[in-house]
Symmetry: C2
Subunit: 228 residues, 2 copies
């Protein structure tokens, strides 16, 4: 059996939550294979690297960012997860042992989209950000992997108050609420949201207000505990 | 590379939180190998089984219980996790490819200890319950696996209100508080604990009180949402 790592990289552009996908094209022939395969960034684990090292390597090839939020969230081991005919045809193009069962360890990661432009890399012909609520059909079980990453991200957003990585360092409570609404895909009550956030002791009010707005600039906050 | 599944089975006997360990003995020779190896129950993944199926198989061989709480919590992939000299000597006794790197997927599980007596099984010479705060030196990285399972269990106990599997179906709030204190390894304030549990809407008061106590029998509760 082979082991791989696949990364669900969530990005936020202050309006939408997106996932980074890679597009691979093959050189063409008379096969019925579609010319483009869309998938999550990932790679086979190398003999001497740990799972975390492999996830960091995959992300570094794409983002060149260091120290971004990265979390192992689930391992996918369906015996038939790479055995679909269309997936097998693709694997035959670039894997030494396309027929082998592959267990993949899923990581998810959070970045502000303004922070970087994804690069082409050794395993990705082309990269693109896709709205998380409009993901096309992906290779292998990658749609399931995105779904589960989003479930776990939603759960941890609320239970552990993560997600600040997607905002500017200084933000208004409206920006934070908007982020939560996009990720949870529902409207939240403004008064309850503010009460819970302030009660939870996760943010600190700054001695600053928003710049460049016409009237009533809002209070700026920053995240309190950077250790998580 | 090989894939295995290891199970951290937590049990509670109304006083202590315990973990089920297996003891293997080898037939002896003049090697310097200790005669007993203590480890978590686990096995190599079979070619046609999923990770969940493998975890269920390992638990079923030990417990014959069905439908017990079982959760994949982390995958351990240190390249050297089975390469210690002492571990290699053991692996040579029963593995076809002892030198191969093994990635292991950790599951944890919760049972009431009164529900079953662990059985000997194909992979376990002998099983024993050991106090989670007094675990001996285990094979491979199994001490790390127990530590991480306990961390995650503690986190989910509080964040997701799991853990009811360890109590009788009807319980007092004192029993529930005691369980939380043992798992979290700290005293909790009675008034706050009760307030939070009742506010969290996780338990339902029954029309029943404790039986067989001398005076002031306490109110009995049951878990509200069995779906989790």
């Amino acid at each position: 059996m082979d082991i791989s790592v696949d990364c669900v990289l969530f990005g936020f552009d202050e309006k939408k939550l997106k996932v980074l996908l890679i597009e691979q094209r093959h050189a063409g022939s008379d096969r019925k294979l579609p010319k483009i395969q869309t998938a999550l960034p990932g790679d086979l684990l190398k003999e001497k690297e740990s799972l975390d090292e492999c996830a960091k390597r995959v992300l570094k090839e794409l983002t060149s960012l260091k120290g971004i939020y990265l979390k192992q969230f689930y391992t996918f081991g369906d015996p038939k997860r790479v055995q679909d005919l269309k997936d097998q045809e693709w694997l035959r193009l670039f894997r030494a042992h396309p027929e082998r069962r592959v267990i993949t360890v899923g990581y998810y990661s959070l970045v502000k989209m303004e922070d970087f432009t994804p690069k082409a890399s050794s395993f990705a012909g082309k990269t693109k950000w896709v709205d998380v609520y409009n993901i096309p059909e992906l290779a292998f079980d990658h749609n399931d992997i995105v779904d589960r990453a989003l479930d776990i991200f939603r759960h941890e957003l609320v239970a552990d108050n993560i997600g600040f990585e997607l905002l500017p360092e200084k933000f208004t409570l409206s920006q934070l609420q908007h982020l939560h609404e996009i990720i949870l895909d529902k409207k939240l009550d403004k008064r309850n949201f503010r009460k819970n956030i302030l009660k939870g002791d996760h943010v600190t009010a700054l001695e600053e207000k928003q710049q460049g707005v016409l009237h009533k600039p809002a209070q700026l906050y920053k995240r309190k505990n950077k250790s998580k």
